[in-house]
């Protein structure tokens, strides 16, 4: 045992530099796993301590209409019975605000929240300066997010108009309980007093207000009460949510995020592992004579295997320790990075024991698993090698090696499944990785073969470079795989991003409407139409579309029969609130699939409705079926007379799942929406919005150009994320490249010495190296770029349903950058080859 430990230590002393880079790869992978897991586990720990902060209460009731007396009476009774403590009302509503100062002609959509004194029941609403108290809101006070101040060019103390009522800005919101982190929102948060909401006039019929009741529950009866309320309110269109449910849901999301993200680290680790495997094979080849000597003086194969396994283990431990150190440094930097994101609750970031243990274990496992198979070759080294050099290789099948390979492969799948937290994902990842590796490998082989004609090139340096790429033991495969994979990730996501943004840009083109007006009241319809017509100039008058909000409460059909809203709820999304319209004509973005479209006359008898094909596909509702709707408290029964297909990407005429034949709603109160092609000039655009909002304060404007900016921001964020992943992979690729170069350096130094003796200048040798790595890099870049094109095409075509556009600039830049990088690193890592004096080298041999 002592012999094995001592020999392992001696071996590390002589070969650690050659193996270093591979274990830095292990370190990078381990660091990625530990850092990602730690961050998410820290967030979870923070969350479980302050879970009520997620919804600012124990139980949150929400409804899109006024709470019915049944709801209010039940809550009051429960409160009297002591099962509910504090009850606080709140309303959320998207609306427009604008500066009270008429010289500032701008308006913005915001997410308004009106709250009572008790808000928040849990957590604290923190302000950028000073402390929040409800007193700030009374008498027309308002606190706002800092973005709004910047957008409207305002400061604390200024006044803004909500509806037509002026409010004074009295604070800037830093963080707000009950607002989920990173959720998509239509605009910045604005908080006013609940009592002041009524007079803004925003609660007019048809507005998109969300009424909320925040409940505080004494003791531990939250779950039973939630269940009880949910069943009592089953037919009241009220959502009942407990903080535990939110915590569980968010916890599940976090677990999933943690597991998926740590797969990134695993991919880097596996690349490092492949590097380890490949370098171990070369290592054993270089150690053949030493192994034979050890056997000659009495060491058994098992002892020698143990020596090298111990060496791998020690280096694996060193790599993993380095990984922990890197992760610790990254975690220390996290608060600085996300400091400006409003945190819902306090999070103490730090390395968690569980994450460190996992990262460490995976690092060690990968090191051992990947080196085991190549190390088994030491068993076949014969001591007679020392007497004769021409040992014929063994032709028989090495069953031990094959079985170990099988066990190693199974273990790797198990590690992947463990990290992903799912056998299926583990299998998919392993399968995907093997498939990608095989494809990259085959593409690499094909390209290496494709450049082979260059071996007949008149340039000596180019001939040698091409020959070297195909040379055995040159690690070409590993470098192609690692660098190619990194390039593939980065170029793939860049190409996809370019495609996505290009598609949105095309949609918000010159002649398409780029502003949507919502919440138009019936009495505003004609005035607004005139205003828009005037803005539109020569364009045809804008379309003003009637909209109502409805829920399906029953379906009596040939294939389904849902008698009550409760049964409809059993069908999932069928129970959601639909925005419906009515019109006589079929729109240009619609196609009639089944049934017959009605004529222009309003329906007289039974109401008629046309549904989109997805409703037919998902819920088996067919022509002739009877659907019952609740439209703001009114029950309407209609027969399905046609099924339409909507081209959702052409939104100019709007897209509706459910369209009624005109008739039943003509005299019912309802709102309108409109789309308009706004001025391109930002100042004119802002002026128009401000004018519109000052005349019609309840009308909200969704500015598509701003939405596009938001989407661009999100896409940029995702792109950055994936680019970081690709960057990590590429970085490992470069490390493997450096490692491969230093592993085979001895051979190169020797060759360079012979070439120099035969008259080659250092310059020529340098050119050879540059060309060799340049060609290798270009092949790796091409492999990655081809993969990226296929990936982005497939995602665009099948997942996002976009038209795919080629992005030759990204492809070319990607290939050139990869080739340059690989060439530069290859030559820099080989500087020794150029520096060595030939005589010393030849003598040493």
């Amino acid at each position: 045992m002592m012999f094995i430990l001592r020999m392992a230590a001696r071996e590390i002393r002589s070969s650690w530099q050659r193996l270093l880079f591979f274990f830095i790869c292990i370190a990078v992978g381990v660091a990625a796993i530990i850092a990602l897991r730690s961050v998410i586990q820290s967030v979870r720990a923070g969350m479980s301590q302050q879970a009520q902060v997620l919804i600012a209460s124990d139980i949150l009731l929400t409804s899109n209409r006024e709470f019915t007396s049944k709801v209010l009476d039940t809550i009051a009774a429960e409160q009297r019975g002591g099962r509910i403590g504090v009850v606080s009302r709140a309303t959320e509503i998207p609306t427009m605000v604008r500066p009270a100062d008429p010289s500032k002609a701008v308006a913005r959509m915001v997410e308004l929240r009106a709250v009572e004194r008790e808000f928040p029941l849990y957590g604290t609403l923190t302000l950028a300066s000073g402390t929040y108290s409800h007193d700030l809101l009374v008498n027309h006070g308002v606190v706002v997010r800092p973005e709004l101040l910047a957008q409207l060019d305002l400061k604390v103390g200024d006044r803004i108009l909500i509806g037509n009522v002026p409010f004074q800005i009295r604070g800037v919101i830093a963080s707000e309980p009950g607002r989920s982190l990173g959720a998509f929102s239509l605009g910045p948060r604005v908080i006013i007093d609940y009592a002041a909401l009524e007079e803004t006039g925003l609660l007019a019929f048809g507005s998109r207000a969300s009424r909320q009741l925040l409940l505080q529950v004494p003791g531990t009866a939250v779950e039973p009460l939630t269940t009880a309320l949910r069943s009592t309110f089953a037919n009241e269109f009220v959502g009942v949510r407990s903080y535990r449910r939110s915590e569980d849901q968010m916890g599940e999301n976090l677990t999933r995020a943690e597991n998926y993200l740590s797969l990134v680290g695993l991919v880097v680790l596996i690349l490092g592992g492949i590097g380890v495997s490949s370098v171990t094979r070369v290592f054993v080849q270089q150690k053949l004579r030493s192994i034979a000597i050890l056997k000659c003086v009495g060491a058994t194969s098992r002892e020698i295997l143990a020596i090298y396994m111990t060496q791998v283990l020690l280096l694996g431990v060193a790599g993993s320790v380095l990984g922990v150190a890197i992760a610790a440094a990254v975690i220390a930097a996290v608060p600085a990075f996300i400091g400006n994101i409003p945190a819902v609750f306090q999070v103490e970031y730090g390395l968690t024991t569980a994450a460190v243990a996992q990262g460490f274990a995976v690092g060690l496992l990968v090191s051992i698993l990947f080196s085991l198979v190549p190390l088994l070759d030491v068993r076949h080294v014969k001591p007679s090698l020392l007497l004769r050099h021409d040992i014929p290789p063994l032709a028989r099948i090495d069953w031990v090696k094959w079985s170990v390979t099988g066990v190693v492969a199974a273990s790797l799948v198990a590690v992947a499944a463990w990290q992903a937290g799912s056998l299926r994902v583990g299998l998919m990842l392993s399968g995907g990785f093997v498939a990608t590796a095989v494809v990259l490998h085959l593409a690499g082989l094909a390209l290496v073969r494709a450049v082979q004609p260059l071996r007949y090139s008149p340039s000596f340096a180019l001939r040698q470079a091409v020959l070297h790429i195909a040379r055995p033991g040159n690690q070409t495969r590993v470098i192609l795989l690692a660098v190619g994979l990194g390039t593939f990730f980065i170029l793939g996501v860049r190409t996809l991003q370019a495609n996505l943004l290009q598609d949105f840009a095309v949609q918000v083109g010159e002649d398409a409407p780029d502003m949507f007006l919502i919440d138009i009241q019936p009495d505003q319809k004609d005035g607004l139409a005139a205003f828009l017509d005037e803005q539109n100039g020569s364009e045809p008058p804008p379309n003003i579309i009637p909209v109502l909000r409805a829920r399906v409460t029953a379906v009596r059909g040939s294939e389904v029969n849902l008698e009550s809203y409760e049964q409809v709820r059993g069908r999932g999304s069928l129970s959601r609130e639909y925005t419906i319209t009515y019109r006589p004509q079929l729109n240009s973005n619609e196609e009639l699939l089944q049934g017959k479209w009605w004529d222009a006359s309003p329906s007289t008898g039974e109401a008629e409705v046309s549904i989109e094909e997805r409703l037919q596909e998902r819920f088996r509702i067919n022509i002739g079926d009877q659907m019952q709707f609740d439209v703001l408290g009114r029950t309407i029964t209609a027969r399905v007379t046609s099924i339409r297909k909507v081209n959702w990407r052409d939104y100019r005429s709007g897209g509706f799942m459910i369209v009624f034949r005109p008739g039943p709603f003509e005299n019912a109160p309802h709102g309108y929406i409109s789309s308009v092609n706004g001025p391109r000039d930002p100042a004119a655009r802002a002026r128009m919005q401000a004018t519109l909002v000052s005349r019609y304060p309840n009308v909200s404007v969704i500015d598509l150009r701003e939405v596009l900016d938001t989407i661009q921001g999100i896409v940029d964020g995702v792109t950055l994320g994936v680019t970081v992943v690709g960057g990590l992979v590429l970085f490992s690729g470069m490390l493997i490249l450096i490692g491969a170069v230093s592993m085979t350096k001895f051979q190169r130094v020797y060759e360079a010495a012979i070439l120099k003796t035969l008259g080659a200048s250092s310059r020529l040798v340098a050119t050879m190296l540059l060309l060799e790595y340049g060609v290798l890099g270009a092949i790796a870049g091409t492999v990655g770029a081809l993969g990226a094109i296929v990936l982005s095409w497939a995602v665009a075509r099948y997942a996002l349903d976009l038209t795919w556009h080629a992005t030759p600039a990204i492809t070319l830049i990607g290939i050139t950058a990869t080739a340059t990088c690989v060439a530069a690193i290859g030559v820099l890592a080989s500087l020794d080859v150029l520096r060595h004096k030939p005589l010393a080298t030849l003598r040493a041999e």
Binding site: F3, M7, S290, L294, C296, V297, A299, R302, P383, S384
Partner: protein
């Protein structure tokens, strides 16, 4: 005592079998010094390798101290070499990543000897390299490397020393020093020694000589001088 009974070795040369060593009987008594002579390719090194268990014979038995080593597995052979055989190669074959001192330590560490370090120091002194122990093989001359190899071969006090042209890669002066060292070792430790050489002068120092040609023994003579120690004295 080493006994060879009908030992032969055949290898495949391309598609055709090639017999490097034809069936050979040979007995080497304990303490005997046997020189094996013959031109290149006559099977000398093959014979030596077979006796050391570095390779397996195609036919026959090799019995060392009543054990037929042809029936032993790789690991048992390694153990046997560690205990009973010291091997000296023409090309020294030191582990390049270990220092001279560490190269001498290896067999003793494998055997688990507690006095390994002290003994390695003594052996270094014995071969005249007391101050070179921390040097790597690449920092030593050929003669010095061979002396380290001899010290390594002696480290477990093996009763048998097998030397494959130990001076073949050295100049004549250095070669003579190495040979003196080996003979001195044999004299002081009474080891059995089998020496492969091209050099008839060296062979004349042996108790007996075996001459091989094309894998067959052409001459096997016992030396007329019964006490080899006197001959050692003579060469000095």
């Amino acid at each position: 005592m080493i006994q060879l009974r009908g030992v032969s070795k055949t290898v495949m040369s391309g598609e055709r079998p090639l017999t490097i060593l034809h069936p050979l009987d040979l007995t080497i008594r304990s303490g005997q010094f046997l020189a094996v002579l013959g031109p290149s390719g006559s099977g000398k090194s093959t014979l030596l390798g077979l006796v050391a268990g570095l390779d397996a014979p195609t036919g026959g038995e090799i019995i060392i101290d009543d054990v037929d080593i042809t029936r032993l597995g790789e690991d048992a052979l390694a153990k046997l070499r560690g205990e009973k055989i010291g091997f000296v190669f023409q090309f020294f074959h030191l582990v390049p990543s270990l220092t001279a001192f560490e190269n001498i330590l290896i067999p003793m560490e494998i055997a688990g000897r507690r006095d390994a370090s002290a003994r390695a120091k003594r052996l270094l002194e014995e071969v005249g390299l007391a101050d070179r122990g921390h040097h790597y093989p690449s920092q030593l001359s050929g003669g010095e490397q061979q002396r380290v190899a001899i010290a390594r071969a002696l480290s477990n006090d093996p009763p048998i020393i097998l030397a494959d042209e130990p001076t073949g890669n050295l100049d004549s002066t250095t070669g003579k020093l190495i040979m003196d060292l080996l003979l001195n070792v044999r004299r002081t430790r009474q080891t059995t020694m089998m020496l492969v050489t091209h050099d008839p002068d060296l062979a004349s120092l042996a108790d007996s000589r075996l001459v091989l040609r094309d894998g067959r023994p052409v001459e096997h003579v016992e030396s007329r001088i019964p006490n080899p120690e006197s001959r050692v004295q003579v060469t000095r």
